[in-house]
């Protein structure tokens, strides 16, 4: 069965994207990313700490095997996000960007106004734009209209592991979308990934859930399988839930 994810004309066989942050070591990160089967991995940009330049965790990854998607984490407004995206591209990464504009450090919720502004500008500058966004169906439409390649509504707050708390809104976004919907943020367990995929999401993105698990490699494989399982559930056209029992054994010929 060929069931590929297509983003901006590029084809991916995995519907799980993973982040590379917060792992305990480069080796653990590498093993988890490989076990996840992801083809798209996200990275961040930061100033080097000149007093203590550290070994780079990413050096463990074979960067040619993945689409390396820079995020704009740390950006507090559109201007900062645009600057980060351009630095990443000019520094040699592909012209793809995951926009993250999160002015409130406590919630890290995405700023809808600045995200839309950044998206519009980066699309015009030739980027393939994947915006992390609040689960707002109207905003999703606006982002699509300015030319975003996907929309990435949050399930719950970044790193919270609370799962999909925005289900109703994400269902509307999926119904309306003409670009892939990637559920990002808050997925703490493989079952959360499966839930998003069963709802009809085109892909999911996980990071913290992998990085903080006792066994990142194993949970990464769990996320991989759950993403596939959820997708299969969605594609199979499952029957609706019912408030009454529906017998699965024949209701005739009882031996009494």
């Amino acid at each position: 069965m060929s069931d590929n994810l297509v983003i901006a004309g590029r084809t991916f066989s995995s519907r799980l994207m993973v982040g590379t942050g917060k792992f305990s070591s480069a080796q653990v990160m590498k093993e988890a990313v490989e076990a996840s089967g992801a083809e798209i991995v996200t990275v961040a940009l930061r100033r080097v700490d000149l007093d203590a330049p550290s070994d780079n965790m990413l050096a463990a990854l074979d960067m040619d095997k993945y689409l390396v998607l820079a995020n704009t984490s740390g950006a507090r407004d559109a201007k900062e996000a645009v600057r980060l995206a351009k630095i990443a591209r000019d520094g040699g990464l592909p012209p793809w960007v995951k926009i993250e504009v999160t002015p409130d450090p406590r919630t890290l919720l995405p700023d809808p106004v600045e995200t839309l502004k950044a998206a519009e500008e980066l699309v015009k500058a030739g980027f393939t734009v994947l915006p992390y966004m609040p689960a707002d169906p109207i905003l999703a439409k606006h982002l699509e209209e300015v030319g975003c390649a996907t929309v990435m509504p949050l399930g719950s707050m970044i790193g919270s592991g609370m799962g999909i708390r925005t289900r109703d809104a994400i269902e509307i976004i999926i119904d309306n979308a003409r670009v892939p919907v990637v559920v990002d943020a808050g997925l703490g367990l493989p079952s959360h990934a499966a839930e998003a995929m069963e709802m009809g999401a085109d892909a999911v993105l996980a990071n913290t859930a992998l990085a903080i698990a006792r066994d990142p490699k194993q949970i990464a494989e769990g996320f991989k399988l759950a993403t596939i399982a959820g997708r299969m559930g969605y594609l199979s056209g499952p029957g609706a839930a019912s408030r009454e029992a529906r017998a699965s054994s024949p209701l005739t010929g009882f031996i009494r």
């Binding site: 590379t20 965790m57 990413l58 820079a70 000019d90 520094g91």
Partner: protein
Amino acid sequence: MNITVNGKANQVDSGTSIVMLLSQYKINSPMTIVEVNGTVIPKDEWESHAVQENDQIEIIQLMGGG
């Protein structure tokens, strides 16, 4: 010669290239990006690009992120 690197004042000899500057800071990661006065300097120009007085330099690294 006075320059600013990652927001901190620094002094270097005139003629210092980007490569020399990075080695002063013991930075050798292939994931490094260098921006001078708002413009990213391509890696193949690091050898020849000499730092100028009052340059605002950002040494940036790709890092793990979500």
